[in-house]
Every structure is written in C-alpha cells, then in structure tokens.
C-alpha cells in the first residue's frame, strides 16, 4: 500500500508550506497518483500555476514547472501548448486565481478547447492573503472582507466552464481523495480543455471563522454535501438540496485547438488558401 511519491516530488522542499489541516496535500498526492497512472513522462510535462496557496504546488513536484502571475496561469500555459502541442500541460489554480482575476483567460481557454488540464482547488476563500471572500464563497459565510456575512453571489465553476465551451468537466473532493485519481487521469487523457474542480478545505482562514471546529469537520462536511453524479441524478430534489454531484459530469469530443491550428498550418504550407 505505501505509495512511493518520492519519484515525482522535489523531496528537499518538504515539509510543504500548507497549513496544518489544509487539504491541498491530499489532492497533491492524488494528482501524482493520477499522473503516474496516466503514464506521463516528467520531461514531457509542464505544470503551470498562478498565485495563491494552490499555486505553490508546482514548486513541490519534479516536472517543468512554472509559477506565474495571479490569474494568468492558463494564458502562460496556452503559449507553452501552442509551441509544443504534443507535450502535456497541466494548470493548478485556485477558485480566486481561476475565476476572479483569471476569469477572462479561464473562459477563453474553455472556448478554444485547447488541450490543457485545469485543476481548480476550490477552498471557497482567498487563503494566501488571509481569508477574503472569493467568487465561490458561500452566501452568509464570514470572510475578512465580508465580516457581516457574504452577500456576493457565487460562480458555479463547472457551469461557467461548460458554458464557455470546456469539453471535459469533473468535480472531486479532498474527502473522496481516492476518487480524484480517475478524474484527473481521464482529464489528462481527454483531448481538449478539461476542468477538474476539487473541493478543498481551508481551516485557517475559512474553517475557523465559519463554525468548523477542525479540518476533519470540514472534510466530513464534504462527505455529507457531495454525491456521486450517478446517485445524485436518481435522487429527488428535496434529497439533493444544498448538495452537488461529483465525478465526471460532462464529456464531449470536439476539435482541439492546436489540432485545428496546425492542420490549418499544414493546409497553408501545402499551398492551400
């Protein structure tokens, strides 16, 4: 059972900086298991992130890693993918990084359906900067910039991605850690823009202020609020109120951007108009 992650880690960088009880380490382990299962070669893989707690992940893993500016990871990754379309490009980003400041790049990458796997660590808060509310912070939740309870409506990240054109949509949670592997493996294999939202817990800047006594209570909240999509669809509305489905929620084969671009290049080079 003892899974050896060390081959994929920059072991000298541990212990990592994430807070006690932050679930990002759980998801990092799942992503490494998925990359191993998908058989990606480290030399052929770039992992790109923006700014925020989740965006520190690339520093801990032994790939071609790029820690960019807040919200812009996907745009940097687009440049990499366009130049090396046969290489694997993953983006690690947070709920704020991806859908607040990074929203424009997020929706346009979805629209283009460029073959990049975007893993959004959704912990419902801006953790790195101390707990300000983000585009996914629940209504009524307390944050340092919503001290009287959040009144800002939320994005449903996956609806946003699907509406913008992403062709692989999945959701997992840190509690259902073993289930993350397959989501990420399928996302990596999928030819097109894949978005995998992973529900995470931030005990330090969210949990403490919102009646979660411990990190484990936050994990147990996930256990009670997320159901496999197969079960979710069979239950009547009153049974699924306040809950969300997880698993692979949508998948569609559509032309992938770099393939379209380089087939146009081939046509042009062969004298076509």
């Amino acid at each position: 059972m003892a899974y050896d992650y060390s081959r994929y880690l920059r072991n000298d960088k541990f212990p990592h900086i994430w807070c006690p009880g932050c679930t990002y380490g759980i998801v990092l382990k799942a992503i490494i298991r998925a990359i191993d299962k998908a058989g990606l070669k480290q030399d052929d893989t770039a992992i790109v992130s923006g700014i925020g707690c989740a965006s520190r992940l690339p520093g801990y893993v032994d790939f071609n890693t790029l820690h960019t500016t807040h919200g812009r990871a996907i745009a940097f990754a687009t440049g990499i993918k366009m130049v090396k379309p046969d290489k694997n490009v993953l983006v690690i980003t947070g709920d704020g990084d991806a859908t607040a400041i990074g929203g424009n790049h997020f929706i346009h990458a979805c629209r283009r359906n460029i073959d990049i796997t975007v893993v959004v660590f959704n912990n419902y808060i801006y953790g790195m900067t101390g707990g300000q509310y983000s585009p996914t912070t629940p209504t009524g939740a307390v944050a340092t910039t919503m001290p009287y309870g959040n009144v800002d409506p939320q994005f449903n990240i996956l609806e946003l991605a699907k509406g913008a054109g992403a062709t692989f949509i999945a959701r997992g949670t840190a509690y259902h850690a073993a289930g993350i592997d397959n989501l990420v493996v399928e996302a990596i294999k999928h030819k097109g823009l894949s978005v995998v939202e992973i529900i995470n817990a931030c005990p330090t800047t969210y949990g403490r202020r919102n009646k979660f006594k411990s990190p484990t209570d936050m994990l147990l909240w996930m256990k009670d609020h997320f159901l496999p999509v197969t079960a979710f669809e069979k239950l009547p509305p009153e049974k699924t109120a306040g809950k969300l489905p997880m698993g692979i929620l949508y998948r569609e084969e559509k032309p992938e951007y770099t393939e379209m671009y380089y087939s146009m290049v081939k046509r042009v080079q062969e004298g076509g108009k």
Partner: protein
C-alpha cells in the same frame, strides 16, 4: 517502502507496519479522527500509534494525510 532521508518511527505487528515521519506531521488530527478503528492518537501535537493490533490496513490515514507523514505497509 518509501525512500526518504527523514527520520521515521514505525510500529508493526505481523499484519501491518505503520510508519510515521514526525518532522512532516503538523498535528492536524485528520488521520486520528478518520481512522475507523481508533488506531492512532496525538502526543505533543504529533500523531502516534495507540494500538497497532486494531489496524485493519484500510489505508485511510495514508490516503487522507496532507503531509506525507504516515503510510502503512501490509504484510501478507
């Protein structure tokens, strides 16, 4: 077996070996509370094996540890 230069503390019986890396453990207690058989406990803000014989080798502790601080090896 996990290759690491970190100091490791192992507790084992004929069925399982539970290994902890004290320097990595941040005392979040996730493993302690999610272990279905109360095999684990806390001591000075670090995880400790309380009763290895209760362990059913389910691996929930290793799966859920955010800090690469605990892992188990089945002995068949």
């Amino acid at each position: 077996m996990v290759k690491t230069a970190e100091k490791m503390v192992s507790t084992e019986n004929d069925k399982v070996k539970i290994t902890i890396i004290p320097r990595f453990c941040k005392g979040c207690e996730i493993c302690v509370r999610l272990c279905p058989k109360s095999v684990l406990g806390m001591e000075m803000f670090k995880v400790k094996v309380v009763d290895v014989d209760k362990c059913i080798r389910c691996g929930q502790c290793e799966l859920r540890c955010p800090d690469f601080a605990i892992f188990i090896e089945k002995k068949d």
